[in-house]
Amino acid sequence: MSDEETLTRQQIRRKRKFGEPILPEEEDETDQKHRHIIAVTLENTIGALNRVTNLFSARGFNLESVAVGETEDSSIARLTLVTVGNDRIVAQVTRQLKGLVNTYDVTDLTDAEHVERELCLLKVQYTSDTRPEILDIKDIFRGRVVNVTPETMVLEVTGPNKKINAFIGMMQEHGIEEVARSGQVAMHRALEYEAPNPLASSESEVNDNGSSDAN
């Protein structure tokens, strides 16, 4: 569909407001809420993390998880944020994050091919009767026992958010004493190797700054 044929955002809103039909493909979906996972690299200094989280709280966003740590360069920290919100507003906050003086890079990984991991420590009660089952479940989730006393043991499991939730669910009936979750960390998957094409021309459009043209 060419530019000329599409409705402007205002027109769509207006139509919706006045109850006029909007063709399904024109429906603007940016107002729906989704889970977003955002990776931020930032200067490893006092206040930098606070500035980032502040942008979310200032807009009344809850952050489901925040995980932060140094990268291979100790002056740079990497932060993974998980938030649920209106796509349009999250995109806006993401742009504001990019604008912060302390941030180097901000990527919304939600729609990109990415790997996501969380670490969970879980302290659970056991008896000689329940012990085999607990250890079984741990094996299924590829967990480890990291501490044990005569009544409780601490298990460690890593995996994507859903896997951790499922693990905690399975342990529920055994009497969980304590759960500590690290929050999500995530990164782009390595791209598949593509052999360079010797015939490819270098005509792809580059703007005057020499960077790619996408906004």
């Binding site: 402007t8 955002r9 207006r14 206040g47 606070n50 604008g99 912060l100």
Partner: protein
């Protein structure tokens, strides 16, 4: 340490500087860094946490002038006025705790209006931070959400480089306030003084030119449009782009409307000028917005005082948005073509790509709207009172648009926008984003200091009786420095703008807006602060008072004009209504009856 030893270099063994860089105390580094930065003026107020810096200033006698403001809020607004009038960064220096918190309103104001200021705050010694020590506040914490960036300097070795960064951040990209918090021990510790040539800010980038594909696209959209409109904001002025904007408008015959901060970016005596838009904008301007098929926004952020009901704003228009701040794009209104870049550079890119357009029909249509509902015609009240609009008109006649007009916040602010014809860039200074009462006088004072550095225009402050007293203490400062400020207080003995809302939307219940019996005698107030006080109570005195005021050139003059409390600002788009849902003078009475 004797004064003269400071500038002679002391050989240094420290590894962080050039071999012959002097070793100085933090307080001295501060004073010298500001000199290196080319600061001309510092608005400040001393206190225990900055007493070392003040002492260093006294010993070094730097190249810049320090202005002792009487309240730190006045200091931040003065720095804003200075920055807006000159295009340079304003500088503020205050103590910790109460000194720092008193600057908060001005910082928030500068943040919303993208004004470049750097605020230095003293802080308790590093070992006492976090102990609820005497005069401690977490200044960086308090100001985090109202600054473009802020710093706590923990080590004297970082002081000079932090100051360099602060000015760079404040001035570049979308300008804004930066706070630098300096603990007392950092002011006393020593380090080699080297002022870096470049700030070390790896994560910070400033957009320059726009993407050429988007510029091309914008040019095509302009070519195809039949009812285009340029919508111009303060970002155009920040980018020093008014000249380029004017060229674009004239080449393409596209009419121009400005926001409050855009006033002055396009000469309002031009045929293409539509004046300002939004809540109290003109009828024909808002009608043009609502009927345009293309809106070219340059350095404007679609504030809700401009758009009213966003969903019903410019319903038929495609939108080109030129802005230096990517986060402004599609924030309030979806941009069909977004160009991130410096307004001046983008306009330069766009100019050769556009062709002259025939917009005669569209301009005729706008003229028709203008004729059908001309700008509100006020009446002189019968009694011994003055139409406030006429005061603004006479100020225009006196200055012929060749003045810096600073306004406070309220009805008078709207009248300045409606009745003063701005012909020059950086000639309108007002608090638009935060709408801060008490802004006018100190900002005008800052602007008047700015006029000493290159530009020489009269500085006129228009204020209301309510807002003026909020920072009236700065009169003494303006007097002490012999600033020839012209201050017009439009005294309606009411918090006029609130009264207007109470009248229109709250059935004349004037809850706590009447100042009649409690207002000061403004003439005496002026005189008590070593200024000249004049008063006009009837229409025929207005011209005289203005003439007399312009004869004084060695100190501020306050002109009090007695104006009726009933006068309202029209037209008006009620908050949250669609922009063509205006209360004009003609409909207001009926609309009020309906309420």
């Amino acid at each position: 340490m004797p004064t003269d030893s400071l500038k002679t270099s002391t050989p240094s063994t420290a590894s962080n500087g050039a071999p012959d860089a002097p070793v100085l105390k933090g307080s001295e580094i501060f004073v010298r860094a500001l000199e290196e930065e080319g600061v001309d003026r510092v608005f400040g107020h001393p206190g225990g946490a900055v007493i070392k810096i003040y002492d260093a200033m006294e010993r070094i006698q730097p190249d810049y002038e320090h202005v002792l403001v009487r309240h730190e809020q006045g200091g931040t607004h003065a720095a804003e006025g200075y920055a807006k009038a000159t295009g340079r960064v304003g500088t503020v220096l205050v103590t910790s705790g109460p000194g720092a918190t008193n600057t908060v309103t001005g910082i928030a104001d500068a943040y919303l209006d993208s004004v470049p200021i750097v605020v230095f705050t003293g802080q308790v010694p590093t070992h006492l931070i976090g102990n609820d020590s005497f005069q401690e506040t977490d200044t960086t914490g308090v100001t985090r959400s109202i600054t473009k960036h802020n710093f706590l300097v923990r080590d004297v070795d970082e002081l000079a480089s932090t100051i360099k960064k602060a000015y760079h951040i404040a001035r570049t990209g979308r300008p804004g306030p930066v706070v630098v918090d300096i603990p007392k021990d950092v002011q006393m510790d020593k380090s080699t003084f080297v002022y870096p040539d470049e700030p070390d800010l790896p994560g910070y980038s400033v957009p320059g030119k726009g993407a050429s594909r988007q510029v091309q696209r914008a040019a095509r959209m302009i070519e195809e449009a039949e009812r285009p409109l340029l919508y111009v904001g303060g970002g155009t002025i920040n980018a020093d782009a008014p000249e380029h904007l004017t060229k674009l408008a004239r080449k393409t015959n596209i009419p121009v409307t400005t926001t409050l901060h855009g006033l002055g970016a396009f000469p309002e005596t031009d045929d293409l000028a539509l004046g300002w838009l939004g809540m109290h904008g003109f009828y024909h301007t808002n009608m043009a917005v609502q009927n345009a098929d293309l809106i070219i926004a340059v350095g404007a952020r679609f504030d809700d005082r401009v758009t009213g009901d966003v969903d019903a704003w410019a319903p038929d228009a495609k939108i080109i948005h030129v802005d230096i701040d990517p986060s402004c794009i599609s924030k309030n209104v979806y941009a069909d073509c977004a160009i991130i870049g410096d307004a001046q550079k983008v306009l330069q890119q766009l100019l050769p790509k556009v062709e002259p357009k025939d917009t005669e029909e569209w301009l005729a249509q706008i003229d028709e709207w203008r004729d059908s509902c001309p700008p509100y015609e006020y009446e002189q009240p019968d009694e011994d009172l003055i139409a406030p609009e006429s005061v603004v008109e006479q100020l225009y006649e006196k200055t012929q648009g060749e003045a810096v007009m600073v306004s406070d916040v309220g009805q008078h602010q709207m009248w300045v926008c409606q009745y003063y014809k701005f012909g020059r860039t950086r000639s309108h200074i007002s608090s638009g984003g935060l709408g801060t009462m008490g802004f006018g006088l100190p900002a005008a004072m800052g602007a008047a200091f700015g006029m000493r550095e290159g530009r020489d225009l009269d500085v006129v402050c228009v204020s209301g009786d309510g807002g003026f007293v909020m920072n009236a203490q700065e009169l003494s400062v303006a007097a002490a420095h012999g600033l020839p400020l012209k201050i017009a207080v439009l005294n309606n003995n009411f918090l006029g703008m609130v009264r207007q809302w109470q009248s229109l939307f709250h059935e004349d219940r004037f809850s706590h807006t009447d100042l009649t019996s409690t207002n000061p005698d403004f003439v005496k107030l002026a005189e008590a602060h070593h200024c000249v006080g004049l008063r006009a109570t009837s229409p025929d005195e207005v011209g005289d008072v203005i003439d007399q005021a312009w004869e004084v050139d060695d100190r501020p003059v306050l002109m009090e004009f007695a104006v009726p409390k009933e006068e309202m600002v029209f037209p008006m788009v009620p908050a949250g209504a669609a922009s063509d849902d205006m209360l004009t003078e003609m409909f207001s009475k009926e609309e009020m009856a309906k309420e």
